[in-house]
Amino acid sequence: MGRLFAIEIIYRGIFQKTLARNISRAIVLAAHKEGKPGISFGRYGDSPERNGIPAKSFAIVATDDVTLEEGMAKYEPKDVDITICVDDTLAKGVESWAWYGLQPVNKLLKPGGTLIVTSRLEADPIIAMCHRKETPYEMAILKAIPSFSGLWVYKDDHTDVRILGAIAKILPDLFSLKSVQAAITDEWHDAVKVTSAARAYEKLTTVTVKPTQGNPEVPFKFDLPKWHEMGEGIVIPSIPAGHKMEDPGTHATGGYKPDRNPTFKKFSTRTMRPVVDFDTCIKCTLCWLQCPDSCFDVTPEGLYDANMEACCGCGVCEAVCPVPNCVTMVNESSFHDNASQWVAWRKDKTNYKGWVQEKIKGHGERSHGFRYLGQYEEQVPEMLDIATKG
């Protein structure tokens, strides 16, 4: 048996699909320069054509064909040398369209493996978002926005080749910087991109993440039923209608909280979530009416509390709310739990006001795409500058 190398790329459909594919292709091509066979593929059960849906690509490389075959004799790799996460909000976990619960972003990493995250944040807040892992691993932050590199309407920001340069540094047995640069020249015929790969190689630093660091929460998972435990005829009983809500202070009941599927929850599909200022809400019902996923729980006093186990982060509620700054979409990296905002508001309104101000200030950042007109023109040249100068 020779040596097997496995790398996964975690991305969001559909705009990062080409980026992920370009990275996994180039990994195989660079390894090929050194005579190592490899295969690049996407996880078939994912739905990478859906906007924002977490998905995976893999590059499997080996020192010989027989070893490669051993590595490919499974649906997807069970452990990887490197995990690449090209959208930092996915540090919270991977919620595939082919729902298996929430998979921690570092789940497949071998002990001592490296998690590369493209982000404008520092390592610490990213580590806080990742679930804890029993064995230590390395984390490398590549300063970048969640890139759409490779998408034809998107100006290239070199995220793809920077990641390739970083891989050459982390896993020199897989391929050298020279091989990566040769593969980049073959694929892109672009000398500047070759330079960007070298910059990433030179500048890369990693930090060790200890088992005591990270989100201590046990990621949500569920057991699949046996065939004779399942209902027949592909029939699923409906979720019960719902019930009244209870005020945490007065214990008064009222309003309406729909019951939701206890198994199929929403997690990292969302890149942003609504922050609601209950003090300015005029109870117009529009957010409740327009939300595509029936996320809003109606409180006893007739306010609308977005439930974060149902929200997909579409932003419709923000768009329809007639009151300025009453509903503001905020990047997921600003939150560490799915707790009810209304409960927090009922407990301490002054404190809540401060919390809202803190969340919406400067965090109106979308991870997947652009938040306002002109943001693209601002950010892409900045990214390109970081890439070429390092």
Binding site: K226, W227, G231, E232, G233, I234, V235, I236, P237
Partner: protein, 409 residues
């Protein structure tokens, strides 16, 4: 019966009528008080829809009768009606049945006890009307129960039995009743019509229970599922069709008790087999020339018998292997083809070989014969020719494993 000719009045309420196989099934639908029927014309199936239409128009039958714009919709409509608790009937022939294929595949997956009549017809091209069994056989792997009948009385009785079996909560799988085009669908015979009281006693109301699609029972039917769910769903359907074997037996026993007519072994009919050296096999109306030929050959001292398969799904493999192990050779006449299959035999011959291979008893040689395609007549001399070859095989002489009979060559 306002339309059928009542030829004689039998003890009490049982009447007789001179009707075709298709009309016999229409009468069964009336007696079963079917709720929703969909239609789209194609020969020879259209004979059943025309007759039901008459029964409705004459006020003898009360049902929703919907003429769809094509076979796909025809089968989809009854699928949905059945999910909502209606007893349904549907049917088609040849390429019409194939046009409905997508609906036919989802019907067993959703555990819909739809009863369909297939007026067996050759698949296009060249657009022949005559019988071939490939249309109905196209669903053999999907969870459909499949039965072939060879006379109008059996058609009526089997339709009633099919409702009882399909709608049994242990089963909830569709059932197609195959009737050979022309020979059965277009020829009239005297049929005993059971009384409504007897039928009511035999056939309980369809109760979809927890799977009922109704506002009082809110459910989701057929959500998308991935590889985490598919095997379990298929396994459930295996369990249902496995149970079907026993439920069919129960239904025939109960049928005999209530209607006084026995079919013996429900799964296959044995004709002059008790002392036979060799047997022929087949499905549907080719039983007529085969039985005539056997009687002729018996007069000549040849010990030939016949085994006519009724239920093709579920396939009573163990029973059949046990039965066939008594003979020195078996000749299977297929009114179908299976291009490129093992030894290029027909579908039935291949299944019979499989049943025998895994059976515990003796394994006589099985010769396959392709005959009567597109409605071509299977003649008595054809059967004699087949028998001669099977006799050779019984004596240990090598014979071709598949032979085309009645072909211009």
């Amino acid at each position: 019966m306002a339309i059928a000719t009542v030829v004689e009045q039998q003890k009490g309420t049982e009447e007789t009528a001179l009707i075709t196989g298709s009309e016999a099934i229409a009468v069964a639908c009336k007696l079963a008080d079917v709720d929703v029927i969909t239609a789209y014309p194609i020969r020879p199936y259209d004979t059943v829809m025309q007759y039901i239409c008459k029964l409705v128009a004459n006020g003898e039958m009360d049902c929703e009768y919907i003429v769809a714009e094509g076979e796909h919709s025809q089968f989809e409509i009854v699928k949905h009606a059945s999910a909502a608790g209606a007893r349904v009937f549907c049917g088609s022939s040849g390429v019409g049945w194939m046009y409905a294929m997508e609906a036919l595949t989802v019907t067993p997956a959703l555990r819909i006890p739809m009863i369909a009549m297939v007026g067996n017809r050759a698949l296009d091209d060249p657009g022949a009307f005559g019988v071939e069994h490939n249309d109905a056989l196209a669903v053999r792997d999907l969870g459909w129960q499949l039965v072939w009948v060879d006379n109008a009385q059996e058609a009526l009785d089997t339709a009633l039995i099919a409702y009882r079996v399909a709608e049994d909560r242990r089963i909830f799988l569709p059932c197609a009743i195959s009737c050979d085009g022309a020979f059965l669908t277009h020829s009239q015979a005297v049929v005993k019509i059971p009384s409504q009281e007897q039928v009511n006693k035999f056939l309980p109301r369809y109760n979809r229970g927890d799977l009922l699609l109704h506002p009082d029972n809110p459910i989701t039917v057929a959500p998308q599922g991935n590889e985490d769910w598919v095997m379990e769903i298929r396994r459930q359907n295996y369990a249902a069709i496995e149970r079907s074997y026993g439920v069919i037996k129960e239904a025939y026993a109960e049928f005999e008790k209530i209607f006084g007519r026995s079919y013996g072994n429900p799964f296959f009919e044995e004709y002059m087999t008790s002392d036979a050296d060799i047997v022929l096999m087949g499905m549907g109306t080719l039983s007529t020339p085969v039985k005539v030929a056997i009687r002729k050959m018996r007069d000549e001292g040849k010990k030939v018998g016949f085994v006519r398969m009724r239920w093709f799904r579920p396939f009573a493999a163990e029973d059949l292997a046990k039965c066939l192990s008594r003979f020195k050779a078996v000749g299977v006449i297929d009114r179908d083809y299976s291009m490129g299959s093992p030894y290029n035999s027909g579908v039935l011959a291949t299944e019979v070989r499989t049943a025998l291979y895994c059976g515990s008893g003796a394994k006589p040689p099985v010769l396959g014969f392709i005959a009567g395609l597109g409605g071509r007549e299977v003649t008595v001399p054809d059967v004699e020719k087949i028998t001669a070859s099977v006799q050779q095989a019984a004596q240990g002489k090598t014979q071709p494993l598949t032979q085309w009979i009645g072909l211009r060559e």
